[in-house]
Amino acid sequence: MRNYMYSTILTFILLLIWEIGARRINTSFILPAPTEIGMKLWELREELFLHHLPITFSVIAIGLAISLTLGILLSIGMSMSKTLEQTLYPLLITSQTIPIIALAPIFVLWFGYSIWSKIVVTIIITFFPITVSTFDGLRSTNRDLKELFQSMGASKRQLFFKLEVPSALSSFFSGLKVAVPMSVIGAAIGEWLGAQAGLGYFSRRMMTQFDGAGVFAPIVLLSLIGILLFIAVVLLEKYILNWRRI
């Protein structure tokens, strides 16, 4: 816990500066004070927590789940077939240079205001770190260890599950740690662009009403979701890769 002492202190100092600054400027639709945001959160708690948060959370969860499935399958495919790798890897990299945000309105056209247009944005934004890190992890398998397995007569299947998968885990988790905060951003962007509910949507609606604290309150929740998911991944990583602690 000591590790977090300095960053906690810094956060408090920054919040304090923000609070003082906001009170002096005194135009809460441009810069609401942290206390105002806190009060707003409390005021809107039922609407935010019971209505909008579950919707955004399901976008994030479904998006991440699909992204993980596709990413893992694709990286396994690429690690097994050189042709697949040479075909898809360049496309994968190129896809990252496309500004997703600019494309997002098209997804709204395609999928309407339904939850799926947001899920697609989330998938596209998280798919890359997951696939590339898993693929790199699978590819990083120590060659000498691989030969040792072969010298024992291991089958392809045994090689994969007993050597390649464990070798890839560490890199996979690095990718997941990048993907999780991005999934929150993806969901929020998706909702910003066209939705009927969700934290991103709510934030935007408050914007049109010049309610500064109302814009920030759902954003605080969004970043809390990101932090909690990140912590969950770190805990899972520590549990699965517990040999690394030694």
Binding site: L145, S151, M152, L241, W243, I246
Partner: protein
């Protein structure tokens, strides 16, 4: 030690084996018409300069490489696919950091899908001085212990033929001496055939029945030297005059090549 008897007395045989590595520059011949036989139960060391092809001989026996021509017999049988037939301890210990000592050692049994081997593994863990360390991870072990785990893993392959590639080269002088005595003890207990690569001539003299000396690359003839020592052996046996002379003549032989 023993003369060459009929085939099934032989643990390992090379007959007129040729081998090349291919790389961008073309072919590099490593073995040229190499033949040798190692009877069951023998301890043979291979000494030779770095890059002379010692590890390559092991890779051929294991089946990680295929000879260009000639035949390789394991336990009297000529085998095309030799993978999984002999116990191989590679030059580095190559333990998997995510597996405990026990899980690392257990790997060959796992690959062979053997069941009910716990008591055997437990007994050997004890004999290899790893009791109490079963559940530790490799990065918690000393170099000597890591080597023992790696050796135990090779032993658990269940093969009577063990190939050890410079197992003690990374150890300090004292640990090395203990490990050598311990290795001989294990060899006598397990009744295995051991082929042992080393750079250290004293080590080869202390351990082996015969020493194969590689003096030229590509390898054509393996010069055979019989070690004139009885067993059980102790380190002070190496101080005998005939052994010192033999050692010096071996060193001389290498000097000429440099």
């Amino acid at each position: 030690m023993k003369s060459i008897l009929d085939n099934d007395e032989q643990a390992l045989q090379f007959k007129n084996v040729y081998f090349d590595y291919e790389n961008a520059a073309g072919q590099i011949r490593i073995l040229k018409d190499v033949s040798f036989s190692i009877p069951k139960g023998e301890f043979v060391s291979i000494v030779g300069a770095s890059g002379s092809g010692k590890t390559t001989i092991f890779r051929l026996i294991v089946g990680l490489e295929q000879q260009k021509s000639g035949s390789i017999y394991v336990n009297g049988e000529e085998m095309e696919k030799r993978l999984g037939k002999v116990g191989y301890m590679p030059q580095q210990d190559l333990l998997m950091p995510w597996r405990t000592v026990r899980q690392n050692a257990f790997l060959p049994l796992e690959i062979q899908k053997q069941k009910d081997t716990d008591s055997k593994v437990d007994r050997l863990l004890g004999e290899f001085g790893l009791k109490g360390y079963e559940n530790k991870y490799p990065n918690e072990l000393s170099g000597g212990m890591r080597q023992r785990v790696s050796f135990l893993r090779a032993t658990l392959s269940g093969s009577n033929v063990l190939l050890l590639d410079e197992p003690f080269s990374a150890l300090d002088a004292m640990t090395k001496l203990f490990m050598q005595e311990w290795l001989l003890e294990q060899w006598e207990k397990q009744l295995s055939t051991i082929l042992f690569i080393t750079h250290d001539i004293s080590e080869a003299l202390f351990l082996s029945d015969r020493i194969f000396v590689i003096t030229d690359t590509p390898v054509t003839t393996l010069e055979e030297v019989k070690v004139p020592l009885k067993r059980p052996r102790w380190q002070h046996h190496l101080d005998q005059k005939k052994v010192i002379e033999l050692k010096n003549s071996l060193i001389e032989r290498f000097r000429m090549r440099v």
